[in-house]
């Protein structure tokens, strides 16, 4: 069963075509990663899936076509997008950011439970719960962005370069959490420039180059591909 089916997706900015008709599926329960260099069209792809951008082609989420839906409606279907640069609200406290992540929820008891779950996953957020989110370190902001996405109880997470700008040790921590989140049953579509770490985490992968998918398959195979090793892993 596929969580997400992308069919001939295109995204244009004026005359510039940033995504040139890509197709791939994300299976229920897996981590799928889309790797590519800066400017390849990774963010545009995620922004099209969550309907922040108009796009051509199809985006089916659990059998339902999302194209044309307002982005805020997509969230209610169970799809949460953590944008590039994290998109936390720096003028709100950590708690308030998490609370907004739960905007679509109608079960106060469940929401209270999920605050607790997020704080168990990210103890540092608990310590800083009443602090303005803008004063958090980069790593803490990424944790908050992930925690906020979890508060919606999404079944599919779109993650845009969660390793960006973080020290290697923190990247490792974040990726450990991503694995745990996935093991708890959440499907993940992960976009990364950091191909090495993303390919080690993901089950399957595709390589995006200037708006087109040039290679796709099991992560281990993509990782072993000589062209990928040369272009993305510096080996």
């Amino acid at each position: 069963m596929n969580a997400l089916e992308i069919d001939a997706l295109t995204v244009s900015y004026g005359d510039i075509r940033a995504v040139k008709g890509i197709s791939f599926d994300v299976r229920d329960g897996e981590i799928f990663t889309l790797i590519g260099a800066n400017g390849a069209g990774k963010s545009s792809t995620l922004r099209a899936i969550s309907q922040l951008l108009r796009h051509g082609g199809g985006v089916r989420f659990r059998g339902r076509e999302l194209r044309g839906l307002a982005p805020e409606k997509v969230v209610a279907l169970g799809l949460a997008h953590v944008p590039e640069g994290r998109g936390i609200f720096g003028n709100l406290t950590v708690m308030e950011n998490l609370r907004l992540g739960a905007w679509i929820r109608t079960d106060p008891v469940g929401v209270a439970d999920d605050f607790e779950k997020v704080f168990v996953i990210f103890p540092r957020l608990r310590e800083r719960r009443d602090q303005a989110a803008g004063t958090l370190s980069g790593g803490e902001q990424q944790m908050l962005a992930l925690g906020r996405a979890l508060m919606s109880r999404a079944s599919l997470l779109l993650l845009d370069e969660p390793s960006m700008g973080l020290a290697p040790k923190l990247v490792g921590e974040i990726y450990d959490v991503l694995r745990k989140i996935n093991e708890s049953g959440v499907t993940i579509l992960l976009v990364e420039q950091n191909a090495n770490i993303a390919l080690r985490l993901a089950h399957r992968a595709a390589v995006l180059e200037t708006g087109s998918i040039t290679l796709a398959g099991n992560s281990a195979d993509v990782l072993a591909n000589p062209r990928v090793r040369e272009a993305y892993l510096g080996a």
Binding site: L52, P71, G87, S152
Partner: protein, 294 residues
């Protein structure tokens, strides 16, 4: 002398609370849209007219609290409607177009009112005010009503903005409106509600003002509106508490200027105050520099 000062303080609180109520509308709208709703002063004027109509045209005698609530809802709806039909289509248009549209909306409201009602009207007495003398001071029950209702509305708004998910979403929009839909939050609905609230408070100010200064005219929104806008800027536009602070500061400065100087100095002093504060605090007293997002 001390009691004269205390007396003027009461007057300053009354005027300041009205400026503050209006300033809130400018600040809230600026917070979510980064635009100045130049029609806001005219919504204040419409609030006074709506109050007049409810007080004089109906066969029944409505209690003041009902009049106040009806005016807030009606003017709130007018504010939301203006946003929907005039501002929303220009959301991504050049800045200048939005500014001109807002100025134009204000002029249309003002001149429509003027053409229907060219002469000022006298507001009938809706609240029978009595004077309370206490420790050498006199305060009227009307002053207590105006200050009390204003403070209650401001505290209510502050709680809404600081404690509820709606308020959090409002503040989130002012920080980064592009990310807000990713929370499942319908940004346009929230912007509509923000206009509703801001305009409703402006309408309430129109009612309270016309109780204190019982003359209603089509042009009354212009000067008061500008001054409340100044109050919002002094306090830091976009900041809710800043708008309240700015309103009370401006009320105090005006009342004290008139109390101790020739009354012609009043506006000179308020506008100079704006300039001086902005030189030292370019974002106003409680304002924040805009979110520097790449």
């Amino acid at each position: 002398m001390a009691s004269y000062l205390a007396q003027q303080t009461i007057n300053a609180l009354q005027l300041g609370s009205i400026y503050a109520l209006i300033a809130l509308g400018y600040s809230m709208v600026y917070g979510v849209l980064v635009m100045i709703n130049f029609a806001h002063g005219d919504l204040f004027m419409l609030g006074a007219f709506a109050c007049l109509l409810l007080a004089t045209l109906l066969p029944v005698h409505l209690p003041l609290v009902v009049i106040l609530l009806v005016v807030m809802i009606v003017i709130g709806a007018v504010g939301a409607l203006i946003e929907r039909i005039a501002y929303r289509p220009l959301r991504n248009a050049p800045r200048v177009s939005a500014i001109i549209t807002a100025l134009g909306c204000g002029l249309v409201i003002e001149n429509t009112t003027l053409s229907i009602s060219p002469y000022p009207h006298f507001m009938p007495e809706l609240f029978h005010s009595t004077t309370i003398a206490w420790a050498g001071l006199t305060i009227t029950t009307l002053q207590i009503l105006i200050i009390g209702v204003s403070l209650a509305l401001m505290i209510g708004l502050d709680l809404l903005v600081t404690r509820t998910p709606f308020g959090m979403a409002m503040r989130a929009i002012s920080f980064d409106s592009r990310t807000v839909p990713l929370m499942g939050i319908p940004v346009n609905t929230l912007i509509s509600r923000t206009f509703f609230l801001g305009a409703g408070l402006g309408g309430a100010a129109g009612v309270l003002y016309s109780l204190a200064y019982p003359q209603v005219s089509a042009g009354m929104g212009v000067l008061i509106g500008w001054k409340a806008f100044i109050a919002a800027v002094i306090g830091g536009i976009g900041s809710i508490r800043g708008a309240v602070l700015g309103g009370f500061i401006l009320g105090a400065v005006e009342v004290m200027a008139v109390a101790f100087l020739p009354s012609t100095y009043r506006d000179l002093i308020s506008y100079s105050l704006l300039l001086v504060i902005l030189i030292f605090k370019p974002y106003g007293l409680l304002g924040q520099p805009p979110n520097q997002k790449v």
